[in-house]
């Protein structure tokens, strides 16, 4: 029995759960809802098993002891853990708020990422740790950072939904343009990465060089000027379409049994949990680890600096909410910007800037 088997099972469970959640939204049949939840829980349990199995495989190969073997050293592993945190957060919300509505959104994302990882086989082989990563602080630093990222991801989703619910009536309003464009860019980047991946598979090269060398090579950074220009044109059309038909999202959300106020409240809750976790795990533990490994608790390397920027954005969110009393549209926009900064900290820095951290460096 190895971890891949369980990862495979959990992607299947998430995809089946997605179908059930959508059916549940359509028919509102209680039994369908229970099936959906059961499938999600099953997928989550299998995902958990897979994670721990991989941890053990890692420990057996590296021979560095359990504490230092947490499988979170490359993009493949961190994505898996990221999805795990999101599913944990989702299940907590479903349980606490007694609503299954978000499931139809979350499970497809989880299922797709898991399937993407599975087919792509992005560096599935276990790489032993380089010396700098062999620290017990790694465990605390990385797990807590990812828990916070997942909480921020959920706050992003709810903030976008809030904006969709409240601003769809006027296509020319700033907030409407803001959220449709941000969402469209997210979608476009994911699609472009998907295309890269397909193109990459066709060339049949080794998996190691995928992310760094192939990212956007099939689209925006294509060697052929025509394809690059076409990609930008498509991006433009895509953004336009999302802007033009963004109100559809409002219709979908109106089928959920959640109010805009609840969405805003959820956004805040997620940030109120994510912020302290991020501060402690991401910034403080990261600083302690850097102090021990490199002899500097803070060296302004790009990843650290971006973490700090993200921290400022969320500190800003909390202050304007508590001190200035911002609510609604304004504050949701800040939450969206916070997650854009988070994503850049997590992926952008590794893909576009250089630094000391190894995640994402495939």
């Amino acid at each position: 029995m190895d971890s891949s088997l369980f990862f495979g099972l959990s992607s299947i469970a998430y995809i089946l759960a997605m179908i059930s959640y959508i059916a549940f939204l359509a028919f509102r049949a209680g039994a369908v809802g229970i099936i959906a939840t059961t499938l999600t829980v099953a997928g989550f349990l299998s995902h958990t098993c897979a994670f721990f199995l991989r941890w053990k495989e890692f420990a057996d190969i590296g021979g560095m002891g359990i504490m230092r073997s947490i499988p979170l050293t490359n993009l493949y592993e961190s994505l898996i853990f990221f999805v795990w945190c999101i599913m944990l957060g989702y299940l907590l919300i479903e349980w606490k708020y007694k609503t299954r509505s978000f499931g139809a959104f979350i499970t497809p994302i989880a299922g797709m990422i898991m399937a993407f990882i599975d087919i792509s086989g992005i560096s599935k082989d276990i790489h032993p740790l380089i010396p700098a990563l062999q620290s017990n602080w790694l465990l605390a630093h990385v797990t807590m950072s990812f828990l916070a990222y997942a909480a921020f991801a959920i706050s992003f989703a709810t903030a976008i939904m809030y904006l969709a619910c409240t601003t769809s009536d006027n296509r020319k309003s700033g907030p409407y343009v803001f959220w449709t464009v941000v969402l469209a860019f997210f979608g476009a980047i994911l699609i472009a990465m998907g295309i890269d991946f397909v193109a990459f598979k066709l060339t049949g090269k080794g998996a190691e060089s995928f992310i760094k060398n192939y990212l956007f090579r099939a689209t925006f950074r294509s060697a052929s000027g025509g394809i690059a220009a076409l990609s930008y044109a498509m991006l433009f059309v895509f953004v336009f379409l999302v802007w033009r038909y963004g109100f559809v999202l409002k219709n979908v959300i109106s089928r959920f049994a959640v109010s805009a106020d609840q969405l805003e409240e959820l956004t805040y809750k997620c940030i109120a949990i994510g912020f302290p976790v991020f501060t402690l795990g991401g910034l403080v533990f990261g600083a302690i680890w850097a102090d021990q490994a490199w002899g500097r608790y803070w060296s302004w390397d790009p990843k650290e600096t971006w973490s700090l920027i993200t921290w400022f954005v969320y500190a800003f969110y909390l202050h304007v909410r508590h001190v200035r009393g911002w609510r609604g549209t304004q504050i949701s926009i800040v939450a969206v910007i916070g997650f854009v900064s988070t994503i850049f900290t997590y992926l952008g820095v590794n893909l576009l800037l250089s630094g000391l951290h190894s995640y994402g460096g495939m």
Partner: protein
């Protein structure tokens, strides 16, 4: 005179008011973030050609040199140490301190003042209220209330307000209101620690060849920084994961020398350090950070030889010197060396790296002056150690590798850590604790007791409301029991 005095205080007031404004905080947040973004785009180690390329990507290669010259002059290529960035950080700290001081007295009053009894009218204006009717006597009501409140963690006391309203009052988490200030204070402490580190500490590098020692380290622009003692590298070693060139660990064995004599650290003369396990001495810390290969004529090849008689014998020799396999007349001469040997597709040997990731020596074996055979002997491949006349184990090439040490003195670290601990506590208090107050006001009406449950909470109103609701249910249940 008086006028001038007024004017002076008003300038101070103006500065104070500016520093007390949250608007300034927003501007400072934005400035720090915005400039930091530029800082992460550029290479901060001062690589000019790299930065020119980056700038060219944004503004085109025509304008790049000019834009780069501007950015360089403005300090963006070493931004985090530029005067204006540091000034921004000071401004940030001042803003934070003044903002907190402005609001502290009000909060402090709340914190100092314990909960008081309320008149009925006052209780009726509390944000959360609930009524419960109790069908029993007053004396029976009392234990029921205390009991119910206790089960929610409130240790209630009985009190009487000015209008003689009898009530039970309790509160929780009064001090959590200070969490925000503790958080802000911790940020100031961390910044103070960073300043202490910058003023009284240093950050330097030192590359030490095996067998050599140094009394200085090298800061920026190769400035010599005296250590106050000497440090010697006895040995350096890298170990690899099986079958790969991924380093598993790299270690140095270091000795501290005072007046030329070794100092005992933890009872030993030589201390082993590796990444994540530094050596500390007299406030200076030596971190293993890198390593490299520095070939030279004095380096010593170390072998363990096993002859036909099976006895093991260690030898150490320089390049082009010879050893004799014990119990034979066969001599081996070190004729060539490669720090990282590999075989290409056509079977040719070549050196693939500039560090000793797969060291190999080429040994010519001769007997009575005649060359009999020759071999590449690889340190990491024991199968190459067997030769027709015995076994030649390649143990080490000593004196050809240097250990790269990061040398730091930072008396501010403890202050920074203290700040981190306070921040953790402060954030916990601000986000996961709240100040909750409950009043259970009791009034008698036609032989029955009417309770007004009133409360307020500094945070998480929804959860608090449902808590009051459950308290009410508990009281009703006690009534029926």
């Amino acid at each position: 005179m008086a006028d001038e005095k007024n004017r002076k205080t008003s300038v101070v007031d103006r500065i104070w008011n500016a520093l007390a404004s949250i608007k300034l905080a927003v501007v400072v947040f934005a400035l720090i973030s915005g400039t930091s973004i530029v800082g992460t785009l550029l290479d901060q180690s001062g690589d000019v050609s790299k930065n020119l390329k980056i700038v060219a990507k944004f503004v085109g290669s025509g304008a790049a040199p000019k834009v780069f010259a501007f950015l360089d002059a403005a300090g963006f290529t070493d931004m985090y140490h530029s005067w204006w960035f540091i000034a921004l950080l000071y401004l940030f700290a001042a803003n934070l301190i003044v903002c907190s001081l402005e609001r502290l007295p009000r909060i402090w009053n709340v914190v100092r003042e314990p909960i008081r009894a309320l008149t009925f009218e006052q209780a009726n204006t509390m944000p959360v209220r609930r009524e419960v009717v109790f069908s029993r006597k007053k004396d029976e009501a009392r234990p029921a209330v205390l009991d119910a409140m206790k089960s929610f963690g409130f240790h209630a006391v009985e009190a009487k307000a000015e209008d003689a309203t009898v009530q039970f009052i309790a509160e929780k988490g009064r001090y959590s209101r200070l969490g925000v200030y503790l958080t802000h204070l911790s940020i100031v402490i961390i910044l103070a620690g960073a300043i202490v580190g910058m003023k009284f500490g240093f950050n330097a590098n030192l590359n030490l060849l095996e067998g050599t020692s140094s009394a200085v380290a090298y800061g920026g622009a190769d400035k010599e920084i005296p250590l106050g003692f000497e440090i010697r590298c006895e040995d350096f070693n890298v170990s690899y994961y099986d079958g790969s060139d991924t380093p598993k660990s790299f270690k140095s064995w270091l000795t501290i020398l005072e007046n030329g004599k070794p100092v005992l650290i933890d009872g030993r003369e030589t201390t082993e350090i590796e990444v994540n396990r530094p050596l500390r001495y007299k406030g200076i810390t030596f971190y293993q950070s890198s390593y490299g290969f520095a070939p030279n004529r004095d380096a010593q090849f170390k072998f363990a030889l096993i002859g036909r008689d099976g006895k093991k014998q260690g030898v150490s020799l320089k390049f082009e010197e010879s050893f004799t396999i014990p119990g034979t007349d066969v001599k081996g001469k070190v004729a060539d060396f490669s720090p990282a040997i590999a075989v290409d597709e056509s079977g040719k040997l070549f050196t693939y790296a500039e560090i000793m990731s797969n060291p190999a020596v080429f040994v010519e074996f001769s007997e009575k002056g005649k060359v009999r055979y020759s071999r590449w002997i690889l340190l990491r491949h024991p199968e190459t150690w067997d030769v027709p006349d015995g076994k030649v184990e390649f143990v080490d090439l000593w004196g050809a590798q240097y250990t790269g040490l990061q040398v730091r003195k930072d008396p501010g670290v403890e202050i920074v850590y203290l700040g981190c601990i306070l921040m953790t506590i402060g954030l916990y208090m601000s986000f996961f604790m709240s100040h909750a107050r409950v009043w259970v006001v009791m009034r008698e009406e036609r032989g029955k007791v009417r309770f007004l449950l009133a409360g307020s909470s500094s945070k998480n109103r929804v959860a608090f409301e449902s808590g009051i609701e459950r308290l009410a249910q508990k009281l009703s249940a006690a009534d029926k029991a």
